[in-house]
Amino acid sequence: MDLLRFFTAGNVDDGKSTLIGRLLYDSNSISTDIIETLTRQSKTTGVNTDIDLALLTDGLRAEREQGITIDVAYKYFSTDKRKFIIADTPGHIQYTRNMFTGASNANLAIILVDARNGITDQTKRHTIISSILGIPHVLVCINKMDLVDYSEEKYTQIENEYLTFAKQLNLKDIAFIPASALAGDNVVTKSDNMTWYKGKPLLEFLETVEIAEAKQTDVSRFQVQYVIRPQTDELHDYRGFAGRVVSGTYKKGQKVTVLPSGIETVIDKIEVNQQEVDVAETNTPVVLHLKDDVDISRGNSIVPSEHLPKTEKEVTATICWMDNAAYIPGQKILLQQNSFRTKAVVKEVISKIDIHSFKALDSDGAMKLNDICKVLIKTAEPISFDSYLDNRNSGSFILINENTNNTIAAGTID
């Protein structure tokens, strides 16, 4: 059984929380005590049905009071075929940063469209963010079909409009499903009201879609998280570099380069849970041992000598500003890329991306909450990176305010 992480983008108005509630409810993933609580709650705050399924995902008091989703909520369910992790993200423009957050780990996006309204600014925004974050699969769920008399014509019109818009973007795989979350059409079971739709209902689609790792190359990448040095009598010389194989594979005897120092050496031994292995594959937690006694610390990369990432003190990136406080030119920041952290500064705000048209607008140098900008960042230490489109792990970073320690931006490297 494998694991699919997906996120849902849309508003309560689009029926997003209802859709998730429906998936959980109809796949028997909700316990009776929680249904009881919901029924009780629905009587006081619920808006539409006997059980307001939206209340399932709105976990914070303020969200229940205001009837909106503010923060990313994670939900879990599984069927016989797959385990699913849902990042339920808010749709309003003022929560763009939360959507960015929920989408960052996802392999699939469900973008909800209200069949009555068709493609809106919000649909475009969610699609553009999915494109920037390199989400491998986008599923456009055209919801509330019951309110447009299950019209095939309406559905096709929205589908065409969406494809025209998406052409300019960087999306590999787009699928469409007509549904009604409230009525349950094409969510778990195929709808009798839309016999013209020949595809799968949502749950079956999610169970069977082939999970493509987000635009991952086979190039091997590894960053040191922690150095294991037992310093006991029998393990006196043991010095292992603990980390995760971020992409590709690592082999015993492989020629590698340590970055940023550039020193070349050979992998002497690979351990997984104290067992020696010859090959370690992507996403395996390993301990690497090197032939030479090289000075290596946390955040250094160990990479195949024939496929080096770029190692520079300047990167051009697309960032989403996430702090309530606007960017102050010259502000001292830290850049963190997985386990690597360095002082940095934004040297130039090159352009601001229009979140509804994907056009690069002239920048006045300002960045405020939810802005998406192209920037040039200068780092104190050299950073080893790949383009985000080639490698989601070595091409992503966050920016941290040195005073407040808050995460103030997230970036994808060009």
Binding site: L56, G59, S104, I228, N338, S339, I398, N405
Partner: protein, 301 residues
């Protein structure tokens, strides 16, 4: 690339997070209760750090109302893996701070353990505390970050959470603050059991079915009879075959009727279970809709 089993993915994520704690903090701690979730954390830490020692001690806040089986298990485990165990007692905090002990028929020390926890954090200046909380347990937890920053009073502010993206964890804090870290955030109760099965992890015996004398409460919960519970003549006493789904305090954790002798039996039972883990066993979450959110804001784990 071939698809890996989802347990491999969850395990890799948890080990990655544990190593991030080791790399980012000066004085971390692993909060250990003797329950299945923290037992899994210890198992994951062994995979993350052996042959080295853990870069953190195990810390237990002992309410004095714990099950003996869990305490024995805790002490044996610490000895077996040869790691440091720090125990602090709620009883001592109550005396030192002249606090009011839990009242009522089933006196809970759930709120009181927050004082002891904050004290032990201050005593050892822990800057990160690793815990076994999972997002599927409760809907306020479903919104909490894996690295969850607490202010110097241990408080969680759900509206001021740091964005958490990709596999990048920001553990930068100011002096006095600390971070609660939840490596198995993305695991469900069933995932934990499937992992226990796969890894052949030993557990305290109360997780498996046994005969026990219980008080049958008005809302149908089976509460252990013990010296802390106020017995009344009107109590309905029953002896049933039960097991515990969670191992919390004896006074506020209910047993569930069960025929599960093995981990396989438990997994089969859970697949059929219609009641959530906390709903089945915790009296404290029933108080109000936002009970967990409020306790977390006050420094609770």
């Amino acid at each position: 690339m071939k698809n890996k089993d989802y347990l491999d993915e969850l395990e890799a994520e948890a080990i990655y997070i544990l190593r991030e704690v080791a790399g980012q903090f000066d004085r971390p701690a692993l909060l250990f209760s003797g329950g299945k979730d923290s037992i899994c954390l210890v198992h994951l830490a062994l995979k993350a750090f052996r042959p080295g020692k853990f870069p953190f001690p195990l810390v237990h806040v002992d309410t004095g109302h714990n099950f003996e089986e869990a305490i024995t298990y805790r002490d044996n485990l610490a000895k077996k893996i040869d790691e440091k165990l720090i125990v602090r007692y709620v009883e001592d905090t109550i005396k030192a701070k002249k606090l009011q002990d839990g009242k009522g028929k089933f006196p809970s020390r759930n709120g009181l353990q927050t004082y002891t926890l904050l004290d032990v954090i201050e005593e050892f200046e822990f800057d990160a505390c690793i815990g076994g909380a999972r997002r599927d347990e409760e809907k306020a937890r479903a919104k909490e970050r894996i690295f969850s920053v607490r202010d110097e009073f241990g408080q969680w502010d759900p509206k001021m959470q740091r964005p958490e993206l990709w596999n990048i964890y920001n553990g930068k804090i100011n002096k006095g603050e600390n971070v609660r870290v939840f490596p198995i955030s993305n695991w469900t109760e069933l995932d934990v059991w499937n992992y226990i099965k796969r890894e052949n992890i030993e557990l305290p015996s109360i997780y498996f079915t046994h005969e026990r004398e219980c008080i049958l409460t008005e809302n149908g919960q089976l509460m252990n009879t013990n010296e802390f519970v106020q017995r009344e003549d009107s109590d309905v006493i029953v002896t049933k075959k039960v097991r515990y789904r969670t191992v919390g305090d004896m006074t506020c954790t209910a047993a569930v009727e069960s025929e599960a002798y093995t981990v396989d039996d438990i997994i089969a039972e859970l697949k059929e279970a219609k009641i959530s883990e906390r709903g089945a066993t915790r009296m404290d979450d029933r108080v109000s809709e936002a009970a967990m959110e409020d306790r977390k804001k006050g420094g609770y784990f």
